[in-house]
C-alpha cells in the first residue's frame, strides 16, 4: 500500500513541477512608446536602448522585443511576480543612458506571447 502511494506521488511530481512554472504571459511586461516629443530618428533611439549583460542576468531577463518601435516587451525567466519592478530597473537604465527617449506607457492588459508582441520560448515557462 505504502509503495503504491509513493509511486502515485512520484508519478504526480513532474506534473506539479510543470504547474509551478509560470506561463509566458505571467512573465511579460509591455510598454507602448509615445514618440511625439522625440526628434531623433526612431531606429537610432532603439539601437541605443541596450541592456547590459550583467543587468539582464540580475533581473533574469529572457528576452526583449522592440518590433517596429510602437511598443517594447520584456520577458523574464524567474521572479515573474516582481516583473514590474524588474522592468522598472531596465527603464531606469535606459533613462540614465539614452537621450531623447520616448514616453513609456505601461500596457495594463494581459499580454499574450506571439510574433506581434514577444515570442520567446524555453524551459522556464509551462506554455
Amino acid at each position: 500500500m505504502k509503495a503504491a502511494i509513493l509511486l502515485t506521488f512520484a508519478a504526480l511530481l513532474p506534473a506539479c513541477t510543470a504547474l509551478a512554472k509560470p506561463t509566458r504571459a505571467e512573465c511579460i511586461v509591455g510598454y507602448r512608446l509615445d514618440w511625439r516629443s522625440v526628434k531623433a530618428e526612431r531606429a537610432d533611439v532603439l539601437n541605443q536602448m541596450e541592456i547590459p549583460n550583467d543587468l539582464a542576468r540580475r533581473v533574469a531577463l529572457a528576452g526583449a522585443s522592440f518590433g517596429t518601435g510602437e511598443a517594447v516587451f520584456l520577458q523574464f525567466s524567474q521572479g515573474c511576480d516582481t516583473k514590474s519592478a524588474k522592468a522598472a530597473e531596465i527603464l531606469g537604465y535606459w533613462k540614465a543612458k539614452t537621450r531623447q527617449l520616448p514616453e513609456f506607457v505601461p500596457i495594463t492588459d494581459v499580454i499574450r506571447p506571439g510574433l506581434q508582441t514577444i515570442e520567446v520560448q524555453g524551459p522556464h515557462w509551462r506554455d
Binding site: A43, G63, A64, S65, Q121
Partner: protein, 183 residues
C-alpha cells in the same frame, strides 16, 4: 525543370519531406501547388551567412535574447543581423554559438505551406568569438540571409547552453536586427 517535375524530384530524392506551417505531409504536398516548394540540394538550408560584421547604423534592433536554452522569434526581412556578446574574460573566447532558421510567411504574417528535404529545414549554426578584452567588448556579428524569397519571414534564433569552461555561459546575449527603415 517545371514545377511538377521539381515536386516529383523533391519527393523522391528527399525520401521523406517536411512541411512548414503544420499539418501532415499529405496536406502539405496537396498545398504545394499553391504553396512554396523548395527543391534545393540537400546541402542547402533555409538560411546562409552573408557577412561577418555589420554597420549598426544600417540596421534596427528588433529584439534581444538573453536566456540560454530559449528561442526567440520575430517577423523580419530576407536579411537579418545578429550580434552575440558575453562577459567571457579576461580574453574573448571562440565558443559562443546560436542556431538560426527562417520560415516563409504570407503578406498577412501567416505561415506558407512549404515542401523540401528534411535537411533544408534544419537550423543553421553560427559560432563566433565574444567576451571582454583589454581593449573593450568583442562581439560576434553576422548578417544572415534567407535562401528563398517570400512576402515576409519568420526568423527563429535558438541559443543553446553555452560551454561553462569558456565563460560564455555567464550572461550570454544575442541582439537581433532587421534592415533599417528610413522615416
Amino acid at each position: 525543370m517545371g514545377g511538377a517535375a521539381q515536386f516529383a524530384v523533391t519527393t523522391v530524392v528527399g525520401g521523406t519531406v517536411s512541411v512548414i506551417g503544420g499539418g501532415k505531409f499529405a496536406n502539405g504536398a496537396a498545398q504545394a501547388g499553391f504553396g512554396y516548394l523548395f527543391s534545393q540540394l540537400a546541402h542547402e538550408r533555409n538560411n546562409r551567412l552573408v557577412a561577418r560584421g555589420f554597420d549598426r547604423s544600417q540596421w534596427q534592433r528588433v529584439g534581444l535574447l538573453t536566456d540560454a536554452q530559449s528561442e526567440a522569434g520575430f517577423i523580419g526581412d530576407q536579411q537579418m543581423a545578429l550580434s552575440m556578446s558575453s562577459v567571457a574574460g579576461p580574453l574573448p573566447t571562440n565558443q559562443f554559438y546560436v542556431e538560426v532558421s527562417v520560415r516563409p510567411l504570407d503578406a498577412s504574417g501567416n505561415p506558407i505551406a512549404s515542401v523540401a528535404s528534411p535537411e533544408w529545414f534544419k537550423r543553421v549554426p553560427y559560432a563566433g568569438m565574444s567576451g571582454i578584452s583589454p581593449l573593450g567588448t568583442v562581439t560576434a556579428d553576422f548578417v544572415i540571409e534567407a535562401t528563398f524569397s517570400a512576402p515576409r519571414y519568420e526568423w527563429l534564433v535558438w541559443m543553446p547552453p553555452q560551454p561553462a569552461r569558456h565563460d560564455n555561459a555567464a550572461s550570454p546575449q544575442v541582439e537581433l536586427f532587421k534592415p533599417r527603415e528610413r522615416r
